[in-house]
């Protein structure tokens, strides 16, 4: 059956069924919908009618006419007239019946007065008073909506024949049926013609495909349409064209391959007779394909059982690959069964590829790889050796291993390069280490001279050999290769086979050994460089040692020297930040002068040794404090100390001044502590400092002669500081206004009055330093008094409870003592 007929028979009943179902559903739903609409609509109309009656009745009541018989009748007739004007479709109407079932009003005057009281539907109305009703009247079916109007005992029915209600849907049913049948037929016809149009070109395509299947590649299908089928036909044509081209190209390539590649292509029929025998491989074998076709395979490859067995295996259905030797050639044979269109075995196809060259090349490659592996291992073995003798030994050993030679040597040129000396030897050469050769002498000499490998495989008869009774008759073949440093030949590596073997050295061995020698040369060079580097290192260490010795000397020298210099001056000179030359600069500095009050008197009483110790102790303590505060100690003059802040390093004028004053406070404090120490060592009266501090411009720098220079300060500011110091009471720190201005925020000072200074035109305001505010805060609970024969130093804030109990006991005792007199 054709596709078009199939489609027709498949779709037509479906279409009929679909249309019939759709029609049925449409009819049913429409009828139901119409019924609902009609009932609603009749209900609305019924309400309207009822309202007409109600409004009339209300009217009568409102005008007290409900007792006037004529008025009531008129109102009823008005209500009926209003009802008559209510449109209910074409055939519907309002029917009014009185309580007894007599028709009181109807559009058809003939109906008025008719009795319907006996009708079952009227009984239904009477029982329900209002609702929907479906009834038969005058031979017709009606739908109705009724209401009972009590004041007039009217049953008001809005009614419409069912024929009108369902008229549309009944007509619709017929239309739908006709449309359905017509639609089905039309669709079927359209489908058929469409499928015909579709299938005709498809049939052509099928025929075309069959022709192509039979190998008629020149088949062309006419393209009739532009649709998908047309495209298919065009594609089919393109495909056959492509196939044609491909086929001819394949044929061509196959011919080229078969006639040029070293293969033999053969095919056997089911009986094992040759149907094809071609290929350049036949030429190699000197076989003539002519006349072979039709004969069994064994007639051609009688002496190659591998081919015959492969063909046999393929005939039994297996695909076989094997290697066959044929005459001097090696063939890779591949045989596969040839199957017919139904999958039945109907012969064998075989290809024998000449792989002789490939096999030989592979063999050679394998050998080279072996050598390279050995070379690599060897090289890695020697390259890390740095000791020359050890290295040479390794080179010879490895080379021997590599070439499987048991005899070998290394010659190295001597310093003059006039001769080469055997530095190492193995085998027969082991006994003649130190043997010397001239250029061109023996194999090694020739290598050294020429800088190229030399191979002698018949050493016994070689005319240039150096006679040596130890070797003669024992060495069969010798090879020598140069060892080079850059282009310069620095030695020779030689290997030898003895007569116990029949091996000779060939180009391959020469190349391998040369390459090995190149690597060995690098190792030798490394060893040599390593040796010279070791030497250089040793020499450098010696020189360094000497320098260090000198440095140590200098260091001790400068340490001694530093004691005579201010650390700042020392460091700035020794670090090179300030050169030692006569120069000065003007800077704002804070200058400190101090001396010990009554020192001369004290000194007079003391022995020189003790005095030196006391003074040095004093100055050391003060200097430590000064350096801790970053001061530049200018000089010591006896018990006097001159210190300044602001050069060579400065933290800013204010900070310098503050540090200076804090230093002075620290010194004063330290002096109190030292008094104890000194008292213990016999110095009765305590040493007390007078300190003056001023901040002002000074000239600072190196002053003096070329041979002897002092780093010091000069100027009015210095003089004022000195003047302040002399004005100070023992234990007092006196500062100028300038300094006061810088420190007053942190240091508690008391005004001390003005002094006059020589060289200054105006008197200078002076201040007595009490202490820093920081310390004063902590000293709140300290009590410190001193008078002849009494000293009190109490720091209650720092005391523990026990200490306090103890202190109280002491002070009570003191009080008792004082009160006794």
């Amino acid at each position: 059956m054709k596709i078009s007929s199939k489609i027709l028979w498949a779709t037509l009943p479906l279409l009929f069924a679909a249309f019939a179902t759709a029609s049925g559903i449409t009819y049913y739903l429409s009828r139901e919908a119409l019924r609902e609409i009609a009932e609603e609509w009749l209900e609305t109309r019924g309400q309207e009618a009822l309202q007409a009656a109600e409004s009339q009745a209300e009217f009568l009541k409102a005008y007290s006419l409900d007792t006037v018989e004529a008025s009531v009748r008129q109102a009823q007739s008005d209500a009926a007239a209003i009802m008559a004007s209510i449109d209910i479709g074409q055939e519907g109407f309002i029917l009014v019946m009185d309580g007894s079932g007599r028709i009181a009003h109807a559009p058809d005057p003939g109906l008025i007065g008719e009795e319907v009281g006996a009708q079952p539907w009227f009984a239904q109305m009477v029982s329900r008073e209002s609702g929907r009703i479906s009834y038969s009247f005058g031979g017709r079916r009606y739908l109705g909506s009724f209401h009972y109007f009590e004041p007039w005992q009217w049953y008001v029915v809005a009614t419409d024949p069912e024929s009108e209600v369902y008229g549309a849907v009944n007509r619709l049913g017929t239309y739908v049926l006709i449309l359905g049948i017509a639609g089905s037929v039309i669709i079927a016809i359209v489908l058929m013609s469409l499928t015909r149009r579709l299938t005709a070109p498809l049939a052509e395509l099928v025929q075309g495909a069959e022709r192509v299947g039979r190998g008629e590649l020149d088949t062309t299908i006419p393209v009739r349409t532009r649709d998908e089928v047309g495209l298919l036909a065009r594609s089919f044509n393109d495909m056959t064209d492509e196939l044609r081209v491909l086929y001819s190209r394949l044929e061509e390539r196959l011919t080229t391959v078969v006639s040029n590649a070293p293969i033999i292509l053969f095919a056997l029929d089911a009986k094992g007779a040759l149907t094809l025998l071609e290929g350049k491989g036949l030429d190699t074998l000197g076989l003539d394909p002519q006349g072979a076709v039709g004969r069994p395979l064994s007639s051609v490859f009688a002496n190659s059982p591998e081919i015959l067995s492969a063909a046999e295996a393929a005939r039994r259905g297996g695909t076989v690959s094997s290697v066959a030797a044929l005459h001097d050639q090696i063939f890779e044979v591949w045989c596969a069964p040839h199957t017919g269109p139904q999958g039945e075995a109907n012969g064998v196809i075989g290809v024998a590829t000449d792989v002789t060259e490939r096999v030989l090349a592979q063999e050679k490659l394998r050998r080279q790889a072996d050598y390279l592996t050995a070379l690599n291992e060897t090289t890695l073995g020697i390259i890390s050796r740095l000791d020359l003798d050890e290295l040479l030994q390794a080179i010879v050993t490895r080379a021997g291993e590599m070439l499987d030679a048991s005899h070998g040597y290394v010659y190295l040129a001597d310093e003059t390069e006039a001769a080469i000396r055997r530095r190492i030897g193995v085998g027969v050469y082991g006994e003649t280490v130190g043997y010397e050769l001239q250029p061109g002498q023996g194999v090694a000499g020739k290598v050294w001279e020429a800088g190229a490998p030399v191979v002698v495989n018949d050493y016994a008869t070689w005319p240039d050999r150096v006679p040596n009774p130890r070797h003669d008759g024992l060495i069969r073949a010798v090879i020598g290769v140069p060892l080079k440093s850059g282009t310069r030949v620095t030695g020779v590596l030689g290997m030898a086979y003895d007569t116990n073997t029949d091996r000779n050295f060939g180009e391959e061995e020469a190349a391998i050994l040369s390459r090995f020698a190149e690597l060995a040369s690098i190792s030798l060079e490394n060893a040599r460089l390593y040796a010279s580097a070791q030497e250089a290192l040793r020499q450098a260490e010696e020189a360094n040692e000497r320098v260090l010795e000198q440095n140590r000397m200098l260091e001790s020298l400068s340490t001694k020297l530093s004691k005579y210099l201010s650390p700042q001056v020392y460091s700035s000179i020794f670090t090179g930040s300030q050169s030692v030359e006569i120069s000065a600069k003007r800077k704002k500095l804070t200058v400190f002068f101090s001396d010990i009050a009554g020192f001369t008197e004290t000194a007079d009483k003391m022995e020189s040794e003790d005095l030196t110790q006391l003074l040095n102790h004093y100055l050391t303590e003060m200097s430590r404090i000064a350096l801790a505060h970053g001061a530049t100690i200018d000089k010591y003059v006896g018990d006097a100390i001159v210190i300044f802040f602001g050069d060579p390093e400065t933290r800013g004028v204010r900070e310098d001044a503050l540090n200076c004053v804090k230093m002075a406070i620290a010194m004063r404090g330290r002096m109190r502590e030292l008094t104890e120490v000194w008292r213990a060592s016999g110095i009765e009266s305590p040493l007390r400092c007078r300190i003056g501090i001023n901040t002002g411009y000074c000239t600072v720098g190196n002053f003096g002669s070329e041979d002897r220079m002092d780093y010091t300060i000069i100027g009015g500011g210095v003089n004022l500081a000195a003047r302040l110091e002399t004005s100070a009471e023992p234990g007092e720190i006196l500062i100028s206004y300038e300094t006061f201005a810088h420190v007053k925020d942190e240091i508690h000072c008391e005004e001390r009055g003005q002094i006059t200074v020589k060289g200054l035109a105006y008197p200078v305001m002076t201040y007595r330093v009490v202490d820093s505010y920081e310390v004063l805060g902590a000293k709140a609970r300290q009590l410190r008094e001193e008078m002849p024969n009494m000293r009190l130093d109490l720091d209650a804030g720092s005391m523990s409870a026990d200490q306090r109990v103890q202190a109280v006991a002491i002070l009570k005792k003191a009080l008792d003592e004082l009160s006794e007199k």
């Binding site: 005008y63 006419l65 006037v68 004529a70 008025s71 009748r73 008129q74 109102a75 007739s77 008005d78």
Partner: protein
């Protein structure tokens, strides 16, 4: 207002008009007045001694109404010869009311081609909203209008030159509203400039309107002359003019008609003349509405008529057909409700009344029974005043004769027509037979049956001769009902009630009877005319001229 510019075209038009006027004066007029054969002047003979007034807002008599009908228009008009059908006249369309600000507004768009006639003091000019507003306000002014009462609660405003709004505080139905602005009574539109220039009195003697015919002169007590309005907005009348001759004597009119001196005359209901003239070759008789309704009013305030049984007895005692037989065939038709269903919405038909058993069929036995029931088995006596005029006298006499059969003795006193009117308004008659036309059901019912209209005792005494007060609320409700159908229902119920109460017994209506020469073609059907004559319009013509 548009200035009249003296362009070349206008000069030509002016010249043409002047020439036409000259021609009319020199040639046509004398010819017309000479009544030569072939002229297009129509001659009407009517039963009055003279023109009463030409002012439409005053014109109340049948004869004056006929004259103003030819000279004036309304915003709407009753279709000529086909009343009460309404169509636009000066207005371009029949309006639909809108409610604005709680008031009912009727908006009229005016035609722009309506020209006022030239008057003694004024040129012809284009009628605008100003004239309409002036006219309607004038109709509502009791000092100058006989119909002012109909326009209470009405406001007229000009919207633009050709748009007028008529507003009512209390909405009206179209049945009640349209007569107020139709070509009837106060609805006639007068030309403001003419009224203002002439004064109300002058205007009454020389009416200036917009209608098909222009007032063209008057011979007191003899005739008035009307000429065709050359610029009538519908079209120039086919007639060249109309001559109205005042001939109160029927015989003279009859003679002149027969002699061909007149073309149309007001006829007579007398059967013998009627049959005689109907057979006269060149003359024919037209009987048409609207007919005046003749109703018998029973005075409820006057014993023994205060007893409903007595009133019902009287109703059953008389027979409409007997009354009808007094007049020529076709001239008089029975009516069964006070509002004539033939001419006005709101009336009850014979079938309706019979269905309600309110037609009181002639039944002397029943009448006697009812009287006996009421205690008047021997009847009673009544003295009634009647006019000497035909409709009154004939009917009263017939009533007397018919009631005599049930023992009711009536003594008639024939008095002058005017005297009768005076006496019945002084509540002298226990039974009043009254001939009247009213423009709508409301006016009929209000004036005859609303308690306010009760003679002597009413708030505004009018013609409620029955002293009836049973339908006041119904009348008022109907008046303010805007839905015409509902309104009609209420009017009918009102009449059902008053008929149930036997307050009145409608006898018949009297058609108008006009005779014409057969060559006169009115140009329209002739069923009913509120103008109370056959109506001469632009289409009226002589068939043979």
């Amino acid at each position: 207002m548009r200035k009249y510019r003296l362009t070349k075209r206008n000069v030509c038009r002016l010249a043409g008009m002047a020439f036409t006027a000259l021609l009319a004066i020199l040639v046509i007029a004398p010819a017309a007045w000479a009544m030569e054969s072939g002229s297009q002047f129509l001659r009407l003979g009517i039963d009055a001694a003279d023109l009463g007034t030409g002012d439409p807002h005053r014109a109340a008599s049948r004869n004056d109404r006929a004259v103003v009908d030819m000279i004036f228009n309304g915003l709407l008009r009753y279709r000529p010869g086909e009343a009460p059908q309404i169509e636009p006249d000066i207005a371009t369309s029949i309006p639909v009311p809108k409610i604005a600000g709680g008031k009912q507004v009727w908006r009229f768009e005016l035609r722009r081609d309506v020209m006022c006639h030239p008057g003694p003091q004024t040129e012809g000019y284009r009628l605008t909203a100003d004239d309409v507003v002036f006219s309607l306000r004038r109709a509502a002014d009791p000092d100058v209008s006989s119909y002012a009462g109909d326009y209470e609660g009405m406001t007229v405003t000009k919207v633009d030159d050709f748009t007028v709004d008529v507003t009512f505080d209390t909405p009206l139905s179209s049945i009640l509203f349209f007569p107020k602005v139709a070509d009837y009574a106060g609805g006639f539109i007068v030309c403001k400039q003419a009224v203002e220039s002439l004064g109300d009195h002058g205007f009454a003697t020389h009416p200036v309107g917009t209608g098909p015919f222009v007032f063209n002169g008057r011979v007191a007590g003899e005739r008035i002359m009307l000429a065709a309005n050359e610029r009538y907005f519908r079209e120039r009348p086919l007639l060249d003019g109309v001559e109205v001759r005042y001939l109160p004597k029927f015989e003279e009119r009859d003679r002149l008609l027969r002699d061909g001196e007149l073309d149309v005359i007001f006829g007579s209901e007398k059967p013998d003349w009627f049959s005689a003239i109907s057979n006269h070759g060149p003359i024919t008789v037209d009987v048409f509405g609207v007919g005046q309704v003749i109703t018998m009013h029973f005075n409820l305030g006057r014993p023994p008529l205060d007893d409903i049984r007595v009133r019902k007895a009287l109703a059953h005692a008389v027979d409409r057909d007997v009354f009808r037989a007094l007049f020529a065939e076709g001239v008089v038709e029975n009516v069964y409700s006070p509002v004539p269903v033939e001419f006005l919405p709101g009336g009850l038909s014979r079938e309706e009344v019979a269905g309600l058993r309110l037609d009181y069929p002639h039944d002397p036995e029943k009448a006697r029974g009812l009287l006996a029931e009421a205690g008047y088995e021997d009847g009673f006596k009544l003295k009634l005043a009647t006019s000497e005029r035909g409709h009154y006298l004939a009917n009263y006499e017939s009533l007397r004769d018919q009631l005599a059969a049930v023992g009711v003795d009536i003594e008639l006193e024939v008095v002058e027509h005017r005297e009768m009117h005076r006496r019945i308004r002084e509540d002298e008659n226990a039974i009043v037979i009254y001939v009247a036309w009213r423009p709508n059901a409301d006016v009929f019912l209000t004036r005859f049956f609303h308690s306010d209209s009760t003679v002597v005792t009413g708030e505004s005494p009018d013609t409620n001769f029955s002293h009836y007060d049973g339908i006041d609320r119904l009348i008022e409700t109907a008046r303010s009902t805007r839905d015409p159908a509902a309104q009609v229902r209420i009017w009918k119920q009102a009449q059902v009630k008053l008929l149930s109460d036997a307050a009145a017994y409608p006898l018949h209506y009297v058609n108008l009877v006009y005779a014409r020469r057969k060559n006169v073609d009115y140009g329209h059907p002739l069923k009913a005319a509120l103008a109370l004559y056959p109506q001469f319009t632009e289409t009226t013509r002589f068939k043979d001229r």
